[in-house]
């Protein structure tokens, strides 16, 4: 099977359309930022409280909001989570905005207040019983040992520890941390009627479980923000240097410009779809930087090769040829990678949602910019300086290219 074999598209001739598309996309991004009041930082970067809760039966978001408002938490952000595997249904992420000058103690209090509000509104606690869905292995083991349902006598501590561990592993792994009926525990090896009765007697089933809770102080947020910016800038600079070393600086500059373009547009859509910038999203952005750079390098690599083969052709023609020759690779790789990150987006769960969104959008934009923008920038620069600028400086690093050439030739002969 072959696609895009022997294509002959005049990419460089369409540069002005590409520039128009890019300008449009950048405008949309700018508008998204403007209308959302800038990038939305997650708690990693601004500090705050996030509690991630799973309900036995999902209450309406309005109900949750009302419950929180009663505790003076009306300004919290509530997001429902979703997932194709069905693992993340019935889940919400509740965020507390950081108030000015808040310290960690206040955030801690916020977390407690959220839990208290949820407990008050959705839980139906039974007197003198503990919440099984919040119980620790120690508590369960102690409860079992107290009733001794297996009749093991006083020396049974170890056995009950194991049983408690098994029961809670079942709760966490098979039931995502939320048991809705004690009967479900029958599937656990070693649980009999007496053990179930003992648990029922001392525990009730809470209607929600806390999946995770995060508290980030404002100063940490500031630090992380700084580090994220530094990491991104250093990574870009590092790539610029590498490409300048491997090619010429104008290639490096063009590649970096294309990547910056990709990052800006991706962040625009990211903001448009109301995602929040977190540490993992920064990781995704850097991956995108690497990816988009790859696409560009593959084309540049081919341009460098063709520049030697087709000395008399105009540069635009060489660039076109190079893009067309690598087009099937570009489409295939990008398509496959796109599928992979799409799967991650759909099945990877709430925690990785922002991460995979960046890659889904980024791979599309990155592929587009590699094909439509990057080479055009190099050609534009060369035309402006006169073509000699490019071949001249290619001759400026002739030893390097010649060595590469010879190496290739010998490799070919092997």
């Amino acid at each position: 099977m072959q696609i895009l074999h022997n294509v002959n598209i005049d990419w460089l001739g369409k540069t002005k359309y590409f520039l128009a598309i890019s300008a449009l996309l950048l405008l949309v991004s700018g508008w998204a930022w403007y209308s959302q009041g800038g990038l939305r930082y997650g708690i990693d970067f601004r500090g705050g409280t996030v509690v991630y809760v799973r309900f036995a039966e999902m209450p309406g978001v309005d109900q949750i909001r009302a419950a929180l408002a009663q505790r003076g938490l009306g300004n919290s952000i509530i997001q429902q989570s979703w997932d194709l595997t069905g693992a993340s249904t019935n889940e919400v992420v509740i965020q507390l905005e950081l108030q000015a000058e808040d310290e960690v103690e206040a955030l801690e209090a916020g977390k407690e207040a959220i839990l208290a509000a949820l407990r008050g509104a959705f839980d139906r606690p039974e007197p003198n019983k503990q919440d099984f869905n919040a119980a620790t292995p120690d508590a369960v083991a102690a409860a079992l040992a107290r009733r001794d349902p297996l009749g093991l006598g006083p020396a049974a501590g170890e056995r009950y520890n194991e049983l408690a561990e098994a029961v809670l592993t079942f709760r966490d792994r098979e039931r995502s941390g939320l048991l809705t009926a004690f009967e479900e525990l029958r599937q656990v090896e070693g649980i009999n009627d007496a053990a179930l009765a003992a648990l029922r007697e001392q525990f009730y089933l809470g209607r929600f479980a806390v999946r995770s809770a995060e508290i980030v102080g404002p100063r940490v947020g500031q630090q992380l923000r700084q580090q994220a910016v530094l990491a991104t800038l250093y990574a870009l600079a590092g790539m610029l240097v590498y490409i300048a070393f491997r090619f010429e600086w104008v290639y490096g500059a063009a590649a970096v410009a294309a990547v910056v373009h990709d990052v800006l547009i991706t962040l625009g859509f990211f903001t448009l779809f109301n995602y929040e910038l977190s540490l993992t999203v920064i990781a995704a952005l850097l991956t995108l930087v690497g990816y988009s750079m790859n696409d560009t390098i593959v084309i540049f690599d081919r341009m460098r090769e063709n520049l030697r083969l087709m000395r008399r052709e105009p540069l635009a023609e060489i660039a076109n040829r190079s893009i067309n020759q690598t087009l099937s690779r570009t489409v295939l790789t990008s398509g496959l990678t796109f599928l992979v990150v799409l799967i991650l987006f759909l099945f990877g769960g709430e925690v990785l949602r922002g991460f995979s969104f960046v890659l889904v959008v980024g791979i599309l934009v990155g592929t587009y910019s590699s094909v439509g923008i990057a080479a055009a920038m190099v050609v534009g620069w060369a035309n402006w300086r006169g073509r000699g600028a490019l071949t001249g400086s290619a001759a400026g690093g002739p030893r390097k290219t010649e060595i590469t050439d010879r190496r290739l030739a010998t490799a070919g002969r092997r």
């Binding site: 099977m1 072959q2 997932d83 595997t85 693992a87 993340s88 103690e105 801690e108 809670l168 709760r171 966490d172 039931r175 995502s176 941390g177 999946r211 995770s212 809770a213 995060e214 508290i215 980030v216 102080g217 100063r219 630090q223 580090q227 990491a231 250093y234 990574a235 590092g238 790539m239 590498y242 491997r246 540490l279 993992t280 850097l286 991956t287 930087v289 690497g290 790859n294 390098i297 593959v298 099937s328 690779r329 790789t333 496959l336 990678t337 599928l339 992979v340 990150v341 799967i343 991650l344 099945f347 990877g348 769960g349 990785l352 995979s356 890659l359 290739l408 490799a411 070919g412 092997r414």
Partner: protein
Amino acid sequence: MSTTVKTRVFLILALTLLSLFGLFGLPKFPPTSWQDLRENFENRIKLGLDLRGGTHMVLQVQVEEAVHLECDRTVDRLTDLLRDPAHNIPFEEVRKLDSTHILIRNVPADQAGTLRSLVSDNFPGWDLGPAPGEANSYTLTMRATVAAQIRRDTMRQSIETIRRRIDALGLTEPTIAEHGRGENEILVQLPGEGDPARAKAVIQAGGQLELRLVRGGPYRTQAEALAQMGGVLPVGTELVRGRAERANPGEPQLSEVWWLLDRTPVVTGRDLRTATVGPSTRSPGRYAVHFTLSRDGAARFGPFTEANVGQRLAVVLEGRTYNAPVINSRIDDQGVIEEFSQQEAQDLALVLRAGALPASIRYLEERVVGPSLGADSIRQGFIASVLSLILVMILMLLYYKKAGINASVGLLLNLVLLLAALAYFGAVLTLPGIAGVILTIGMAVDSNVLVFERIREELRLGKAPASAVDTGFSRAFLTIIDTHVTTIVSCLFLFLFGTGPIRGFAITLTIGLLTNLVTAIYVSRTIFLWQLERAGRQAALSI
């Protein structure tokens, strides 16, 4: 098979076996069950907190407090020395300016030399200089190296103390280490601990123990204390809140009281050697904590208690007065803190034994991941990885036919190598790490596509399969190196600046890219060579 191909296949098999051994261990007899294999695998791949569940905390040690303390002590010692009949240097005041500067005001000019030698003899860590703008006044400055040393010691001691206290909880594999990100930060990771409250209670408990002389009290309120003092506290004292003593019959029980205490402690937790629980000698049924001081501490405590018999001494824990017993006689190295419930006494003894924190701490960050979220993340990550793998393999088989098998073998082998490398290096797999694995699949496919497309091009130019394969690989080689290096560069910076989960991502992706170089270039080429040999060098290539 030719020797070259044989050697290559041998090397690849050896590498694969080594990886499998790294992941699953040696097969046993009778045959290892799936259960065993699974257990081995789970033991070898270390999971990060986000997959395992647990508590992650970042604390900041207020190291400046320790420098302040040293400065306070120096002010006291200096004042004593100046007043000491042996020197008898007149002065107006000795005052702490900030944590490293002390002002000495109005020392007569003819005493300057004596002061200078007094300082250089007794305070080697300090420099004496004229105070700016004031005649006959001097500033005593703590040397920067000394202050830095105090900060470093405080930090080290805090880490040690926290580690000992956490260890006493008996959790599995806790991490307590200096956190490179900010200043004076400590990272505490407690895998499997879903409730940070207990750990925090232990870390926080009795951050600092101090024994300080009581100058007045108890007062019922702060206002009452101030009123009795005429609105101004005596120099070098402060009001400290404390728990009330048990009321005499007929009097109302107060919830808290205030004591007027010396600002500088006589001894601190640092001077403590041991602490044990025993029954109280004063009230039956209650408990007491017996403590022993270090030699250095005892040398100070002995004369001090002797000079202050009949006075009260406050036991201050974490800035709160526990009680204020009367000093009955000289105490050298053994003392008792009275009247606790059994639980209180045990906790206090534990905290004292583990050593007090040399400075207070603040929490900067606290993340708790429940075990169920970790388990779900693993499941989701697994589903996403397997789905991508299968989908990619199907598409490669459709598009490249037999060469697709080649790519699929490479992909699978790449995953095995990647996981084995993680196990061998003891790297931690995090949720972003799983995403890194999935992205590795994408990158690996890219290398294959680059090579295969090149081979196709060469074939189209009419080259023989063998030489098309050769040229394809060698032409694509540099491109593959370039694309890999750029991604590794970004991973490097992620690793340098990132924390926890992000580092996991950078590590897995980097390792994945490196192993991919092996599989996409060496392994894939070997398979081609072997195919070409079997089919004869001129036979058509299925690609």
